[in-house]
């Protein structure tokens, strides 16, 4: 029994959450530093996981397995494949920046109430989310995964509803109501998804008799576990629905703009860059492995929905007046790409989708956090309230532009690699869909550049004339993200090498092979 590295990786932030929450009301700064410390320590552990992980080795590594709830056939089973490693790393990397970016977002407005400790709560909740997300990436037991998939809603819910954006267009009163509306919408959408999944989970247990991903997948593979076609499809739909809400896939997406719009920028990043990835990740790990037949059966519909998400999200992004809602719709478009890549059922598509999850996390973080800095300066989320920022705050504008260019997946930056892989992967199997999806890159350029032009260029608006440029803390947040974007854009090989084997295995689970090129000789 070696050192339970995975458990430690998840437990550390949990401990951090408790510790941070315990800090007395007066010692706000201490709580912040504590949170930052724990998130960095978690990052260290995550890196260790990535190092200890051997791409050539077994499918699931660093596995742990303990009895938990015998009566439900539930075991505490952890294990990571390449995909999980990549996403755990992403999570661990982003959280410190989120903490740092949210440094002042939760400072209490009225100090004096000794009991009310929003700051401690804010950072504790963030760490709690990190712990749950990491666990759901690590869980190889369906039930275990489900538990954290659901449980992470609660801290997220409080983060969205409790710590709304100080900068809002419509005054405090409506802001708080809008905020709680957004929080409730987020929770209910995901809860309904989760409960429907619960029915499927129970159904799975009735059919399979246990929840161990490996055992079930194994049994499916060697035919010892037969599912009636109808059953398999219903169960698949139950699982997929929950993941599609989380991802989110059109037409289940409407909670995201509200949530991202009302939440503070760091929390918005937490939603779209970290939490939502659990949905797409779960499609890849659970839908495809547990229900290969049904997955193939559903592929056409899902691809079309993904396609709609891509174009629809992009078009709505163009039509937004609110910076953060714009980014949210952009994310919807990107999630469309991810899902399309997953269900393209090609190694380019799925490797691309996985890289996409990572890159989208980083790029959205960069764009959204800078947007947050911008908004916190002017106190408004409306694009129309800005103009000419580039002249007064060039660094801010520059970083914002780079974040935007990443969002429109400019070659040389990380997202390009994944987006192109997804497109190619889809094209090889479904040329028509691939071609239509390509329009997405034009629309992406449109909404990004329109946003940049309206906010950053043109004559300087009097309101922004006195706007200070990025502070040291803020640069410390953005600069590393940009470095990552460039590095992964120029040299994505390390990540790709970790991800590829896992993707190959997933493909073999669904009995799919890449289509051969027409001219073999060229290779």
């Amino acid at each position: 029994m070696s050192f339970p590295l995975l458990t430690a990786t998840a437990a550390l932030p949990a401990v951090g959450a408790i510790a941070t929450a315990a800090v007395p009301a007066a010692r706000r700064t201490a709580a912040k530093w504590l949170a930052l410390l724990f998130s960095l320590a978690t990052l260290a552990l995550a890196v260790t996981v990535a190092i200890r992980f051997d791409p050539g080795g077994a499918r699931y590594q660093l596995t742990e397995s303990h009895a938990w709830i015998k009566d439900f056939g539930v075991r505490y089973e952890l294990g990571v494949d390449g995909i999980a490693v990549a996403l755990i790393a992403l999570t661990a990397v982003l959280i410190p920046f989120i903490v740092l970016a949210g440094w002042h977002d939760a400072d209490p407005l009225e100090t004096g109430n000794r009991r009310w400790r929003p700051t401690q709560g804010f950072f504790a909740l963030i760490l709690a989310v990190e712990a749950m997300v990491i666990l759901s990436f690590e869980a190889t037991d369906v039930f275990l995964f489900y538990i954290f998939f659901e449980a992470m809603l609660i801290p997220m819910y409080f983060l969205i509803g409790g710590f709304g954006d100080r900068a809002h267009a419509h005054g405090e009163e409506t802001a708080s109501t809008q905020r709680s509306y957004a929080a409730v919408k987020f929770l209910l959408y995901n809860l309904v998804g989760g409960l429907i999944m619960l029915a499927a989970v129970i159904g799975l247990y009735v059919v399979a008799g246990n929840f161990s991903l490996q055992e079930i997948a194994q049994a499916r593979a060697d035919g010892s576990l037969h599912m009636a076609t109808g059953t398999e499809r219903w169960l698949f739909l139950g699982f997929f629905f929950a993941f599609a809400v989380k991802a989110p896939l059109w037409p289940l997406h409407t909670w995201l703009p509200n949530a991202m719009g009302e939440a503070t920028a760091p929390v918005a990043v937490l939603i779209t860059a970290v939490v939502d990835k659990v949905g797409t990740f779960a499609m890849l790990r659970f839908c495809l492995q547990l229900f290969p037949g049904a997955s193939k059966w559903a592929t056409p519909v899902i691809l079309v929905l993904a396609l709609i998400s891509i174009l629809y999200g992009a078009l709505l992004a163009v039509g937004q007046r609110d910076i953060k809602r714009l980014v949210a719709y952009a994310s919807i478009s990107h999630f469309g790409f991810i899902i399309m890549g997953i269900f393209a059922m090609t190694s380019q598509g799925q490797s691309g989708a996985t890289l996409y999850m990572v890159n989208h996390g980083i790029s959205t973080a960069a764009l959204m956090l800078v947007a947050g800095f911008l908004i916190s300066r002017r106190g408004s989320r409306l694009i129309a309230d800005y103009g000419g920022v580039q002249k007064v705050a060039p660094v801010l504008a520059g970083t914002f532009l780079i974040g935007g260019l990443a969002t429109l997946s400019l070659p040389g930056l990380a997202p390009f690699v994944s987006e192109f892989l997804v497109l190619v992967g889809t094209f090889t199997r479904h040329p028509a869909i691939g071609v239509v999806a390509t329009f997405g890159i034009v629309l992406a350029a449109l909404y990004t550049l329109v946003l940049y032009q309206r906010t950053m260029t043109g004559p300087v608006k009097p309101e922004v004339a006195a706007m200070p440029d990025l502070r040291v803390r803020e640069v410390a947040v953005v600069a590393p993200l940009i470095v990552l974007l460039v590095f992964l854009g120029v040299y994505p090989k390390p990540v790709a090498d970790i991800v590829n084997p896992a993707v190959q295995q997933t493909l073999s689970d669904v009995h799919k092979k890449d289509p051969r090129p027409e001219v073999e000789a060229a290779k």
């Binding site: 709830i69 009566d71 538990i147 449980a151 209910l188 409960l195 159904g203």
Partner: protein, 549 residues
Amino acid sequence: MSATAVHSLWTTAADPISKIDAPKIEYGQLSPTLIVIGAALVGVLIEAFVPRRFRYYTQVFVSFVALAAAFAAVVALAADGYGTTRARIAAMGAIAVDGPALFLQGTILLGALAALFTFAERRLDPAAHGNRVDSFAAQAASVPGSDSEKAAVRAGFTTTEVFPLLLFAVGGMLVFPSANDLLTLFVALEVFSLPLYLLCALARRKRLMSQEAAVKYFLLGAFASAFTLFGIALLYGYAGSVSYGTIAQVVDGTVTDIDPALANTMGNDALLLIGAAMLVMGLLFKVAAVPFHMWTPDVYQGAPTPVTGFMAAATKVAAFGALLRVLYVVLPGMRWDWRPVMWAVAIVTMLGGAIVAITQTDIKRLLAYSSIAHAGFILAGVIATTPSGVSSVLFYLAAYSFVTIGAFAVVTLVRDAGGEATHLSKWAGLGRRSPLVAAVFAVFLLAFAGIPLTSGFAGKFAVFKAAAEGGAVPLVVIGVISSAVAAFFYIRVIVLMFFSEPRPEGPTVAVPSPLTMAAIGIGVAVTLVLGVAPQYFLDLASQAGVFVR
């Protein structure tokens, strides 16, 4: 029947007394019930002889000791294997001593202990004329607002009768799920119902509502028990006996020693079906299943909150225990007749409870409807008619009862000038004013909503799993949908507490004595333990999942 036969009947009855051998009572195995009933009687004597100023303390002490001792006895019995291998039918076939009985008795007793703490709480209300007061009327007999009431308050009277009443109710509840013949069932039903009727009427504040609640509860309860009794009569007519075992045999048509006198008169299926239906209806009334639920919101709202908590938890446990035994021991033979009907009841109960709860504005009524919805979920498990079904229901009941008591205990803390501030609008911003209480209540709400890592989720999963295995997949789907609906209003309360601006004239949160704290503490602890590490208790429940016949 001929006159001679009738005459013989007379003569046999007139035989010398010596022929009747004294009934054999296993006092040891009945000890939990006997302890509680005995303590109740002691309580009555205390009311009679102990000076008023000592009564409160003596009553609390006696009740506590009794309940604790009874629980200890239950544990001891279970340890002796009466729950499993040595399960038997005691007291001349009147009482079953088996797994479900002991498990439920244990649950009821623990719940009663927690409830006792809330009963005994005397710090919440501001002291009247220097006398600390609890949640019960100073003098139930005096008319609200009358001089006599004022006098009673001034004199610092308190209705310490509530403790013996509580004990009587508990005694009845202990017998109810373990009753092994219909007569015992009926008597137990009345024994725990009547004290509850009274307790409902004893609120210190809002006495009009309290009395109204009592009247409604009493009339409807009596109405229901009349149906039960008629059902019992018909079953007796069907089987010629009220003993569970015999009826079951007749239903299965496997009667061993058949009395020739009975042979031609019994086995009329019409009697069986109608009787079973009416009996079950009586039980469904107690578990508050739609359409027999309508008393629930009014009574829950009107009754003193500690009583509400006790009722909501213990009554449900006892009633479901009895229902299980009736369905699994008496009527398994006619499973195919009652299952579809119960399906329908479960569905309307789940949906009805959840949907109506959405528009509630009073926290106690909200919890009432939520308890209805939960009754529906539990019914889903009952319908499974598998051992796992039984154990899942047992587990759910245990989990649910502690959440409920805890939740109502929290309700008692949120007060304003008019006593408890139960209107939801007053709970706005509670999270700002006292985060801890709000957080605790949030935990209970999340457990009600069945969020993972709370006991509510484990219970819901167990029940739905059992139902699915029992082939009731549609039931599971509907259950899932209605719990989604239910989630909505639990969330609404959380939103209210944490995300709405606190009102200037909002309620204050009273700092309770260790008693209420203990009750809430137990609630939270059980909720989390059963949520995170339920295995041990699931084992317990599954071991206890077998009825003795």
